[in-house]
Symmetry: D2
Subunit: 136 residues, 4 copies
């Protein structure tokens, strides 16, 4: 299986614009974090929904890499996000992903997103990735 | 009802980071477009999923403003995206929104996203906004 | 391509409990209808959400059969439903499906559900089916 | 707060067609079970998707009743289901719901559905209910 460092390097290459940091990988899940600055805020100090979804998307991808190895051609096929509470403008967003199913060609996972240090999730995302068939 | 120009100004203030242009508003719908450059691309020349969702989110918001007037406090409560085809790296993304329901407190709409000039959608998004109660 | 009658017979075999009638098939879409009786109602005279989703599921399946031919092993992989208005207790539900993408292994479609004769949809569903690989 | 018995009686009245049994309620969640017989099966011995969604819908409703008290007018506003594995034709389906957000007017929860005694979920559902405003 891939190490946290290998995955972080891979993510930096695959998602060159992302500011996500890989915090943990393994056991069918992953945790990432993302600093919040001016670029991520909407008026009123809310982190925008697409920023939250992009963090969830990376968390899901990191979890998949940790589970099935380096798969450059994995692509998101669907994402469903529910926005639950107003995120803090001063705290990083933390995304905690748990894979629900790792199939031959489809992987499904869910991600809870939190303002760092807060107990209640700001958003919940369920996503599906299509992965290329692997050799036995 | 708000004019296209008023809505464009409002969007520029509400989503200061967006590069979306308002193309059309009215009749319970809206069309927006978004130039694609290096910031929006993933390796392989694919427009990233979160960029597509952010364009859909703006299209939905523009359609709501056109329907119910300037509502600063409208917030996205859910988004479901299905990614259908690889978008072109050289064409703008066009988002065409149609509102499905405009209720007292919830608005539901769908958005088809296209690479400009192409017939088949690259993604489909259904989103829900919560809007503050309006006066009769 | 399969005829409406062939598809109706196939659906009756595949979904033996369904009361859905196939009204139209073709051009990447389908229309089905479903009588509403006591079994489908909740107190207050509302058609239950799962009944609406089951009609959408059949509409999607009918559209797929019309597009790719008789595929017994097609299975639903995801469904997202938004419930929009209270359906009539006295009218049939009509489901109008349009396929959004017909890929090699995944098909995505959307379904608008109406109380027969009413203009505004009571629900909107986006669904994904996984289909077995076809021979060239 | 409502007891398990009160909620079971309420569900029997609200969803008169349901075969769901209330197994547990409380702590922001609920567990229900549902016997599987001929009516719920599709050819090949698969429990149909809409049956799974109806069980998830009840589990969510039970959890809401346990959290906010008897709310007859709660209505489902959205459901997203991902179907993960083929359920057993011989085992009951168990739905385990956890509420993610209990807001003033919207409640969001997720439900894992299992074939009884099996570790891997057969489906995952995220649902939203609209509830009438409560008095302080």
């Amino acid at each position: 299986m891939a190490s946290k460092e290998e995955i972080a390097a891979f993510i930096a290459a695959e998602f060159p614009q992302t500011k996500c940091m890989v915090e943990e990988v393994g056991n069918g899940g992953a945790t990432v974090s993302h600093r919040i600055g001016h670029d991520e805020l909407r008026p009123g100090g809310t982190v925008s929904g697409p920023v939250l979804m992009s963090i969830a998307d990376v968390a899901l991808y990191v979890a998949i890499l940790g589970e099935v190895g380096m798969v450059a051609m994995a692509v998101t096929t669907s994402l469903t996000a529910n926005f639950l509470r107003k995120p803090s403008a001063e705290r990083s967003i933390v995304g905690v992903c748990k894979l629900i199913k790792v199939g031959r060609s489809l992987v499904v996972g869910e991600v809870y997103l939190y303002s760092q240090g807060c107990e209640d999730a700001v958003a919940h995302v369920v996503g599906t990735y299509s992965i290329p068939p692997r050799r036995g």
